[in-house]
């Protein structure tokens, strides 16, 4: 076997070079959890080699897995539809409104959950009919409300001013519009998002319901609430469902309306590590089935008596965002430089920063190399390419030495990055989707100078940067 190698015996085989490292052992510094990190690497996304992806689409690169996205959606649907008879899902556009992502989820059966004129127009542009749109948000203009009313969208009223505006719009259009109101209340578990919607405890919500009941042009048919995001306690949803159910019974009795749906918003946690939480997500993030059980069992029990009154159980709508898309996308980034900080820590500069990965501000993303890294893991800071102190991708991660050009995979990154990212200092990179058949499609092209500057207009007198000639060459001594 080894004879082939021995042919080259005149030149003994050289060892592969691994960067030398020296790490101080301070008491309390030995990091046990990081010890195994260098054992893990990932060199493909759904079978497509990372090297091939980068060759074709450059670094940094966002990669969406269509398979994971569909699987997540199917699992969510199954968890709820096997526990409650009447379920609908609305895809929360703000979580990730890349067209390809939205249409995967629409194909899986999701409505569109939008919160602005832009998101509304985006959903319509993708071919989503108005009556498949849930329209949330505190800033709906007259123009977009007119369009939404004409197109039969489900409008969720956020405040009294919107209520009056919508009533006026409906009256002018000569229509009676079915509406929902957004509620806020104290579940006892989460910080209250009391700035959105009508408060239940103080009576503002029932006031709004009365006002709608008195209107010739509005008809209350739905209740909406979104109690927060990354909620790790399923009991919070149990409390939410109880409060919304009680309120449903109260408005129906008092105002005579018939509530057809309860929309409980989103907020399920994804398999990500919030900064400040030291247990791994596998230990603290409930499964989708645990959320489903808390929600459906409660609602099923509470609405049982409606059936005895021959009154329909409300449709349960969910607007789950991050739990569906977060782990369906990764960010591949390359090492640009190695450094050592004055305090001895190793630092790595990457070609992707918080401008691309906005959620690095609140998550400790999982980071793995794309090849086996030999060498001892060391505490390492991962920086992005921005010349700003805030550009920290990971404050502390145990990583063996890496070389310039090595690649790292950040995950999960599917939620709130491709929507909240910034064109700041750098161009935003390509986003691709690995299809279920293994084909890779570009779903958002990287920016370039033309794209970034195309909305700018230069006034005539500013067309020339140096109309009176360029400044002197400061490298030569002035005469």
């Amino acid at each position: 076997m080894s004879t082939k190698d021995n042919n080259n015996a005149s030149e003994p085989k050289k060892k592969p070079w691994v960067k030398p490292s020296i790490t101080p052992l301070r008491s309390g510094f030995l990091n046990k959890s990081g010890a195994a990190r260098h054992m893990i690497w990932r060199d493909n996304i759904d079978g497509v080699p990372v090297s091939k992806l980068l060759e074709d689409f450059k670094s940094p690169l966002f990669v969406v897995s269509e398979h994971t996205l569909r699987q997540n959606s199917k699992r969510l649907r199954k968890a709820f539809s096997t526990r409650y008879p009447d379920i609908m899902f609305g895809w929360s556009y703000k979580t990730n409104y890349l067209s390809a992502v939205c249409n995967v989820l629409h194909q899986e059966g999701d409505l569109a959950e939008v919160v602005s004129q832009f998101e509304y127009e985006k959903a319509r542009g993708l071919g989503v009919p108005g009556n498949c749109i849930l329209f949330n948000g505190p800033n709906k203009t007259r123009a977009i409300l007119e369009r939404a009313v004409n197109e039969g969208a489900h409008i969720h009223i956020d405040h009294l001013d919107e209520l009056y505006l919508l009533e006026d719009v409906a009256k002018n259009l000569g229509k009676v519009v079915d509406v929902a109101i957004r509620l806020n209340f104290d579940t006892g578990y989460t910080e209250q998002w009391s700035r959105f919607g009508f408060n239940v405890e103080s009576g503002h919500a029932i006031d709004a319901a009365w006002r709608i009941a008195a209107s010739d042009n509005l008809n209350l048919v739905g209740l909406h609430a979104h109690i927060g995001t990354f909620i790790m306690e399923p009991l919070a949803y149990k409390a939410q469902v109880k409060i919304m159910n009680n309120f449903m019974n109260e408005v129906e009795t008092k105002t005579g309306c018939v509530i057809k749906y309860i929309d409980i918003g989103g907020g399920f946690a994804s398999m990500n590590s919030l900064q400040g939480i030291y247990l791994p997500p596998e230990q603290v993030v409930p499964s989708i089935e645990q959320y489903a059980e808390a929600i459906c069992d409660t609602l099923l029990e509470l609405t049982h008596e409606r059936e005895t009154r021959e009154c329909r159980r409300p449709t349960l709508i969910l607007e789950t965002g991050r739990a569906v898309v977060d782990d369906a996308e990764v960010l591949i980034t390359s090492v640009v430089a190695n450094k050592h900080l004055p305090d001895g820590r190793r630092a790595v500069v990457l070609d992707a920063g918080v401008n691309h990965l906005f959620t690095a501000f609140w998550y400790n993303h999982d980071v793995v190399p794309t090849r086996h890294l030999s060498g001892r893991p060391e505490e390492t800071v991962l920086y992005g390419p921005l010349c700003m102190n805030i550009d920290v991708m990971r404050n502390s991660v145990m990583l063996p030495p890496v070389n310039v050009g090595d690649t790292l995979i950040f995950s999960p990154v599917g939620a709130y990055n491709n929507t909240q990212w910034l064109q700041f200092i750098e161009y935003r990179p390509n986003v691709v989707m690995v299809q279920e058949n293994g084909k890779v499609s570009l779903i958002r092209e990287a920016e370039n100078l033309e794209i970034v500057t195309q909305q700018e207009r230069l006034p005539e007198h500013l067309k020339n940067p140096y109309p009176k000639g360029t400044p002197r060459n400061f490298l030569t001594t002035p005469k």
């Binding site: 050289k14 060892k15 592969p16 691994v18 960067k19 490292s21 101080p24 030999s374 001892r376």
Partner: protein, 95 residues
């Protein structure tokens, strides 16, 4: 070049003084103890190899010569990584 060869108690300024390097207790598995400061360190395999060489000669050029014969990597790359390593060594065992 011939001059400084004799004078290599301090070598050049790239690495800590030879005496500092020679006082380090280094184990097979890469544990390093500095009896003067009382500090402990770990080095990886390459770090261990280099430290052992430096205990004999703390000058950069001979070290790089040796590393190029031993490792499969261009000299400039070795030099870059060794310079960074040297910076850490100066910090940890320099004084």
């Amino acid at each position: 070049m011939g001059q400084s060869q004799e004078n290599n108690t301090s070598g050049n300024d790239t690495f800590p003084p030879l005496a500092n390097l020679q006082r380090l207790a280094i184990s097979e598995s890469g544990f390093v103890f500095d009896p003067v400061s009382g500090h402990n360190f770990t080095v990886n395999e390459t770090g261990l190899f280099i430290l052992r060489l430096l205990q004999k000669n703390n000058r950069l050029e001979p070290l790089l010569d040796r590393l190029t014969t031993e490792y499969d990597s261009p000299r400039r790359e070795l030099e870059r990584d060794v310079l960074e390593f040297a910076g850490l060594l100066r910090d940890y065992v320099g004084e």
